[in-house]
Subunit: 592 residues, 2 copies
């Protein structure tokens, strides 16, 4: 069975040494001194290591079982969910008024990494609830908040998001679920939703479904869509649970991964629902939560790769096979450990360089969400809107790739299910698909985010990179290994944008044909910036006589690896982008 | 359920228009006129489409079941195997003396693509048998050939290869299985082998295991290894089946994919075996079959991607979602098909450009094996030895990547097992691992093949590229779009080799740290060369008034795509290679 060790020191490093979180001025960040953060992360790490991680393979091999309309989660999930509830983890960053602890989102994200790493499928029951809470917080009436939030924050009730239908996922304008207004102010919801994560299960007393449906009078396409609260059990005015609503699970899907989470077909047969937020503004209301939801999936992207990497590294240290080309390293043994081989080392370095860079980018993104929500900073809001598709798309692609590389280190044993490496790969795969498939993220980035507000956020990003380079140009430990490649990569990013401006504006296909490469190009520059910042932070720590020299040396070495081996990918992406749409669209559709 | 359409026209195109197979002068190739090849491929295609492909999801969902020492293959496999036997497909390229048809290996490879595409797990029962036959053909005594080959060629009996043990795969010097010589000339084989594909099943009367074991007196490490024939049922002098041998299946592994093939733990408890080939030369004997076996896995690499691509393309044409950025393409429908979107088109082009390039490279490789085996051409033997790790490593990596991209086109539906896209990904994954994990292929390429015979084969490859460029320089339809990028990529390949020669000879780690990138760099140049040849062939066909203009136009357009969008990856690989070992090996092993 794979093991998991919570990387508390690495998370604290990003929060404090790199992001200097207690100095940002964002309300709540100042509460996050190193000791407080360490105490919370230690506690979360224990839950992740001792309770959630051991259940991860159980969830994978057992899956969820539908019997007579009831979904049974894998053995042990109920107890683990109780532990999650008791720890109050779901409310960590939620308002005290509803039972939360009002800590910053960036801390909840750091905790979230551990929970996802330990058991991605399990953590989704809470994660979806958190998303539904955000929607009710943002758009609910006071009465709705009072009715639903305390029970959802405490995880007595869980939540779901119901968007997809059999014939439409990305293009929600096509959806067919109907909402008919009733005389009592409620709506009757009728239709079928698919791919509903945690749609039905045995972990909570009630499930609060948030459902997109079309109410009369809204017009065609996405304009007619509204958002509704549809509880599994109706809630009486005194808060007690009432009758069963006309919503039922039609099927639990057999999936490639995340078997521990019940992905349901949900049938709404005239179910009673209540409007959440304004009528016909359902799409807009969904979008207000999108940065957070997508950042959460970007978090999954690298977080699944964490235990994959840890177990690959452990195997590489233990497994004896072959001899080092430079002479035996383990003379007393029959062979050397895999880790002596440069190609194994390359793979492990790929993995850790990505993971640590993505961790920094994600936590920076989460701190921008704090700055936007808690300090009302419009520049932070614009920046995270720009970065969101990159964090989601780039990190989930790379996270999957790194899980595959980790599995590869295990050789044939990695392909055997009981070893657990396959699960990481299969689980990681979904993050590239849900919450907007990565191609849709690339489209969002190039067609909407890049040019939003005259490209202000993009310009701010370049200013930030330039400022960092200028501020640190005199530091020889940074200049050659970090600033030079960062400058080159950033230049490639600018050249891609110039191409889009010159060609793409006239011919949208030319921009869109390069959208996926642009997302990756941008992702590399982001990680290059993050590694440059980490190198600076670690150099400063070493200079000031930090005790954990090996820790900081490793950060700098891993950063150098990223800059030398991964950042040059920007030139390839640029070459692909500037080759334009002609080669992409040359064949007629019938030729495929 | 996914569908499969055998690409007969594409295979014939490579054999005849590109490789001009009937003009090579290799004995047997001249029999392969277009009509003969077409008739055979049509017949194989029918079997693949109608019998094998429908069983592919069945094999995946049922898997193999071990009950009381007997392994039951999935429903329908027995009948399909009978059809495979009846068609004589296993003997297609085997000697007539043993019941085969003595057709060229390149034709068997083309047929093999179809069988793998249709049902990779099923085809392995035959594929492993074919490998065992090759070993007996190469190293068996006349008596052994007479005893085993006719029954194996006819598939009455199947074969296996037993190399791996729990503690060793790549490093076979560590193996512990023992062979004790008996007075009657036989050996008693004792030990445990793992990951034995088709180790036990209900498809054949007998199973002929080829087992690597250590016989006394051979010395340490790989030197002491010999190869043994260990039949499941002993064979009497008259050829009739006798007693059960002391070999049994200990377990059928639960794997990520290829569920239809039984991957077994095999226990040899003093089983009777007979030496195959010379004593203590087992490793050398295994190596003589390695090019063929590894080319077979490289064939799997792209062949699994074929149905994945076909089903992605079909989905992209059918699924309505969103509108084209250039204006609606399907005005009468509620939305446009996915295929209008440039990023979907990019993904489909990635897939087909890889598949068609890899098909050409693989068949060229197979024709080199023919030239080596049938015409005794040492240059062909040297070239295929050089190309083998590239065909195996590069093509299985890319084939997996393309299966993932095909799955991605299906969005959320791609993640649901019943749709079948997940199976392609899970099946494709194993090809990167077995028959020498891809990191081992990269090591073999850089540490052994590149410098073999003073780099003669590598120089011959460059000469071939140069000659092609020089011969076609005057053709404006090739010059800019094909020859220019091919030249640049080939220059990157030369620069990488120069780096290895200057730095890597002194410091092996510097070469090995770049081995994986070199394998990919070389793979890209090979596909660039193949696409240049295909473009030339299609331009010539168009010029000579070929009827199927759309077919050749598509080849040229797909080639242009590969040259513009994929070949530039050589520069990235070169940059990674020349960054050397320092950044890769910077961290001590304990830091991981």
């Amino acid at each position: 069975m794979p093991s998991y060790k919570a990387p508390t020191a690495d998370l604290l490093y990003v929060l404090h040494d790199v992001l200097r979180i207690s100095e940002t001025g964002v309300p709540g960040h100042d509460d996050l001194d190193r000791e407080t953060a360490a105490a919370i992360l230690d506690e979360a790490g224990r839950l992740a290591e001792k309770v959630l991680a051991p259940l991860n393979p159980v969830g994978d091999s057992e899956g969820c079982r539908l019997e007579n309309g009831v979904v049974h989660t894998p053995a042990g999930f109920t107890d683990a969910f109780a532990a999650m509830k008791d720890g109050g983890w779901n409310g960590l960053d939620l308002p005290e008024a509803y039972g939360g602890q009002n800590m910053p989102y960036v801390l909840a994200t750091a905790v979230g990494e551990m929970f996802v790493s330990a058991n991605m499928a399990f953590n989704m029951y809470q994660g979806l609830t958190h998303g539904a809470i955000s929607a009710i917080l943002a758009h609910g009436s006071d009465a709705q908040k009072a009715t639903y939030l305390p029970k959802m924050v405490s995880l007595d009730w869980t939540g779901t998001m119901n968007l997809t239908e059999p014939h439409c996922g990305t293009d929600l304008g096509l959806l067919r679920t109907r909402a008919e207004p009733q005389s009592d102010g409620s709506y009757r919801i009728t239709g079928q939703k698919i791919f509903i994560s945690a749609g039905e299960h045995d972990l909570a007393e009630n499930i609060i479904h948030l459902v997109l449906a079309k109410a009369p009078g809204g017009g065609e396409g996405t304009k007619g869509i509204s958002l509704f609260i549809v509880p599994k059990l109706l809630v009486k005015p005194d808060g007690a649970l009432g009758d069963r609503n006309a919503v039922s699970v039609g099927k639990v899907e057999r999936k490639m991964g995340i078997h521990g989470n019940a992905t349901c077909v949900m049938n709404y047969d005239g179910a009673t629902g209540w409007l959440l937020g304004d009528l016909h503004k359902g799409m807009r209301n969904m979008f207000t939560m999108m940065n957070e939801a997508r950042l959460g999936v970007g978090l999954q992207g690298y977080s699944v790769a964490v235990p994959a990497y840890q177990n690959a590294a452990a195997y590489a240290r233990d497994r004896l096979q072959g001899r080092a080309a430079t002479g035996p390293a383990n003379l007393s043994g029959p062979a050397d450990p895999l880790i002596v081989h440069p190609d194994i080392r390359r793979s492990l370095m790929d993995q850790r360089a990505f993971i640590e860079g993505a961790r920094a980018l994600t936590l920076w993104g989460a701190s921008l969400i704090d700055a936007s929500h808690r300090a009302g900073d419009p520049a932070a809001e614009a920046m995270i809107s720009l970065l969101t598709p990159v964090i989601k798309g780039f990190q989930t692609d790379k996270g999957f790739e790194m899980a595959v590389q980790a599995q590869q280190v295990w050789g044939g044993h990695g392909y055997i299910e009981e070893q657990g490496m396959s699960q990481f790969v299969r689980d990681a795969r979904i993050a590239m698909i849900y919450e907007g498939a990565n191609g849709v993220q690339a489209l969002d980035l190039v067609a909407r985010k890049l040019a939003a507000d005259n490209g202000k956020a993009m310009l701010a990003f370049f200013d930030m990179v330039k400022a960092f380079i200028n501020e640190n140009d005199g530091n020889p430990a940074l200049a050659t290994d970090f600033l030079l490649p960062l400058k080159a990569a950033s230049k490639d990013l600018q050249a891609a944008i110039l191409f889009f401006m010159q060609i793409g504006m006239k011919s949208p296909d030319d921009a869109l044909a390069g959208s996926y490469d642009f997302m990756h190009l941008f992702g590399h520059v982001c990680l290059g910036l993050m590694w440059s910042r980490m190198a600076k932070a670690s150099l400063a720590a070493l200079e000031s006589g930090a005790a954990d020299r090996a820790f900081h040396d490793a950060k700098i070495a891993t950063g150098r690896y990223y800059m030398a081996r991964h950042l040059p990918a920007t030139a390839l992406h640029l070459a692909r982008i500037t080759s334009g749409a002609a080669v992409v669209m040359a064949l007629p559709a019938e030729a495929f």
